[in-house]
Symmetry: C2
Subunit: 109 residues, 2 copies
DNA sequence: CACTTACGAAAGTCTATGCTTACAATAGCC
DNA sequence: GGCTATTGTAAGCATAGACTTTCGTAAGTG
């Protein structure tokens, strides 16, 4: 998950993901969408591939990339758990507050 | 969302989030869980707070922090959309493949 | 008021990283 | 075999960022 977060924390890499989200693209055509040099994009693609966020397929000398949404599964799970746990905690707090119902307490803070 | 990703891409900051996920904590008690200096944690807390991932409350000279799961909403949405879109695309591809049913094509790749 | 406690802010250091300019590798074409 | 096209790799550079030490600040306490 560290690799996933590190990969998508970089704006350019998220843009790349957006490009290959629906269709396959060669490294070259991906690079042509940006104003940085091709090797820079190549390095981003390596990071994305290393994190399992894109698949790489070779066709002759071309390399064809495509988004791999499964690569985001672990992160999604992390966020969902965090979210649920926190909401549960809020719920427990509210309930505890109601149980020791010392009226006239007034709004805290 | 850039701020959110930047914030949680750092492992130490995720640990901090884990600490204050269920309970409030002062900056000092948070820092005591790590082997780096207190100012380092203070800087992490500033990043987390700037990204809206923790709330900050002052009580005398103490600063009390707590996780703010709402701060993850936008990122969750981004991931969900990405996920759904991509699965939809896969579905469309499979259907298209079935429609032009040239049998004997065999498994690709 | 002096003293302590609990912090953040500022400045400097060191590493990580995104970028560039070479260069190498591999596949097709004549 | 040469030639071109498409791409990754290597090395170097400049900026970002995580950390440290030092200092400043605000709230209590005697």
């Amino acid at each position: 998950m560290q690799a996933t977060l590190h990969a998508i924390a970089e704006p350019r890499r998220r843009e790349i993901l957006g490009l290959v989200r629906h269709r396959e693209m060669t490294a070259g055509s991906i690079a042509s969408h940006f104003d940085v040099t091709r090797p820079a994009i190549s390095q981003h693609l390596r990071v994305l591939h290393g994190a399992g966020l894109v698949s790489e397929r070779r066709q002759g000398t071309r390399r064809i990339y495509r988004a791999r949404p499964e690569g985001l599964l672990e992160l999604r799970k992390f966020l969902d758990e965090f979210w649920d746990d926190r909401l549960d905690a809020l719920k427990r707090e509210v309930e505890a507050e109601q149980e020791n119902g010392d009226a006239g307490e007034g709004p805290r803070r």
